[in-house]
């Protein structure tokens, strides 16, 4: 057997196999199509063959980058989750993917990267904690600038800034998009019947981060939580295809519970505090003895009074 194809993606967290939308889409599709992939979970995009994540390293045809191209390549290798779809369903897939990209993706990017509270408290923090030094100082800001720039270009407004009105517009479109998806899904398990396809992968990739990552500004997430069938859809896929991620999900202390976080460290903090006080006292005592300010009891008793005077003088001088 030839060496398996290798997929490089962003590391997972919050119960997800990856924190990045495109990586989630590709991972989900690979699971649906049963493609045997060796997955490398990275925190440093420079370690991937193309410098971008997700990237698929193929058997002898170089590396492929964007999700649509990766999916096309997997299909060529006969790992096709859309085999059973009719031509009309294939056309619907294209249409709904366009809908996702135009209406939902801008709002997602806004809520994760542009909204100031969410970006500072959650997104930037995650990347700063997980990306290796010294890239973690540079990469989050660069990704932020990139996404803001893209949003400005797409909306043709070079002076675009995060704000109430922009948020309102984007979230409104996203709500419409999610409602349409919900209507299309109905009570089915997947968009085209009983087995998942590329469209399911795309929808999962876009909605799962919204479902799982806890954000301070929860407006968009609240919209999603009002659409139960979409929530069920995501949790279903996670349970069926990524069960290991759910078990391995660490309990994240949200930023608002900063006090709770401190409580865990407190025993160590106390211990450190006590040790440092003892050390300081020991150092002072040692210095005092060495310079003769205080002497040990074994000295002559008739000298004790003058010593006491010395100590008092020292005390006054210090005050």
């Amino acid at each position: 057997m030839a060496a398996p194809m290798q997929l490089y993606c962003w590391k997972g967290d919050y119960g997800l196999p990856s924190v990045d939308i495109d990586c989630l889409t590709v991972l989900a599709y690979a699971k649906f199509a049963g493609a045997p992939l060796k997955v490398h979970k990275l925190t440093n995009p420079w370690r991937s063959p193309t410098g971008i994540l997700p990237t698929l390293q193929t058997r002898g045809e170089g590396s492929v980058s964007q999700p649509s191209k990766i999916i096309i390549h997997l299909r060529k290798q006969k790992y096709n989750a859309d085999y059973d779809l009719s031509a009309k369903e294939g056309a619907d897939t294209l249409a709904f993917v366009s809908l996702l990209e135009e209406k939902l993706l801008p709002a997602l990017i806004y809520t994760l990267w542009i909204d100031s509270k969410n970006y500072v408290d959650v997104t930037r923090r995650w990347y700063a904690e997980n990306v290796p030094f010294p890239l973690n100082f540079v990469l989050p800001n660069r990704m932020h600038a990139q996404r803001l720039g893209r949003l400005q270009l797409v909306r043709e407004d070079p002076a675009l800034e995060p704000g109430e009105q922009l948020e309102q517009e984007l979230y409104q479109e996203a709500l419409e998009c999610m409602t349409l998806l919900s209507q299309r899904l109905g009570s089915q398990k997947f968009f085209f019947g009983d087995s998942p396809s590329a469209l399911d992968a795309y929808v999962f990739g876009h909605l799962a981060p919204l479902l799982k990552i806890k954000l301070p500004n929860r407006k968009l997430q609240q919209y999603l939580s009002s659409l139960e069938n979409l929530q069920l859809f995501c949790t279903n896929i996670l349970a069926l295809y990524f069960p290991s991620e759910i078990q391995a999900a660490p309990v994240h202390t949200a930023p608002t519970q900063a006090d709770g976080g401190d409580m865990d460290h407190e025993p160590h903090k106390r211990w450190n505090q006590v040790m440092s006080v003892l050390f300081a006292m020991g150092a002072m005592l040692g210095y005092a003895i060495l310079t003769g300010i205080i002497t040990i009891k074994s000295a002559h008793p008739h000298l004790q009074e003058s010593r006491h005077d010395d100590v008092d003088e020292e005390g006054e001088e210090e005050d």
Binding site: L94, A95, Q183
Partner: protein, 207 residues
């Protein structure tokens, strides 16, 4: 219905359509549709939820694929840009403004293409994407007269506008219009709408 038929006008060549009603001017397809809806003429009332979802999705597909491809071919393909687009765009202005504005627009469009990842695509790839989009539309249309059976909707208007423009605009090659013509049901769809709704424009821009 006649008001809605008037709203079928859509010219994608850098110009925005607008309608003038009384002392109001409404421009661009989205707001025009909303406006006519507010006046009580809506084309998509007869659709159920699933169909409306599909309609919106296909409209996004057209915007995403066809519109971007048109922009790409007009501005990012060097031959077309230099021979046709820049001339047409800068024609109302005098020298040197015409050069400046044309190049500025070109630069702007190329930046946008870069941002959405289309800059790396070659012309062949763009034609492929357009073909794929047309095939999807063709599949959806099937043998029906309109996309959602008997009644035309906003989607029909949008598709007609784009396809008609592509078929009637002269470019350096006929590749794009050939690709559309290969989907015969789309071609007959365009002809039918042109004949039914635009009979008075028979002399202009025949397919």
């Amino acid at each position: 219905m006649s008001l809605a038929a008037e709203a079928f006008v859509s010219q994608i060549a850098g110009k925005v359509p607008f309608i003038h009603v009384g002392n109001q001017v409404v421009s661009e397809l989205g707001p025009i549709v909303q406006f006519t809806k507010a006046k009580g003429h809506s084309l998509s009332d007869g659709l159920d939820d699933v169909q409306r979802a599909e309609m919106k999705a296909y409209m996004e597909l057209v915007n995403n694929m066809l519109l971007t491809a048109e922009l790409y071919i007009q501005w990012c393909d060097d031959t077309t840009a230099s021979e046709i687009t820049r001339q047409r765009y800068s024609s109302p202005y005098s020298w040197p403004l015409n050069h400046i504005l044309a190049y500025q627009k070109q630069w702007e469009v190329r930046r946008k293409m870069n941002a959405i990842g289309w800059a790396g695509k070659g012309l062949e790839q763009v034609y492929e994407d357009v073909s794929q989009c047309c095939q999807a539309l063709s599949q959806r249309l099937g043998t029906q007269p309109f996309f959602f059976n008997k009644q035309p909707t906003e989607l029909d208007a949008l598709v007609f506008g784009h396809l008609f423009t592509i078929l009637t605009t002269r470019l350096t090659t006929d590749e794009l219009s050939e690709r559309i013509k290969s989907c015969s049901n789309l071609l007959s769809f365009c002809r039918r709408i042109e004949q039914t709704y635009f009979e008075e424009d028979k002399d202009k821009g025949r397919l």
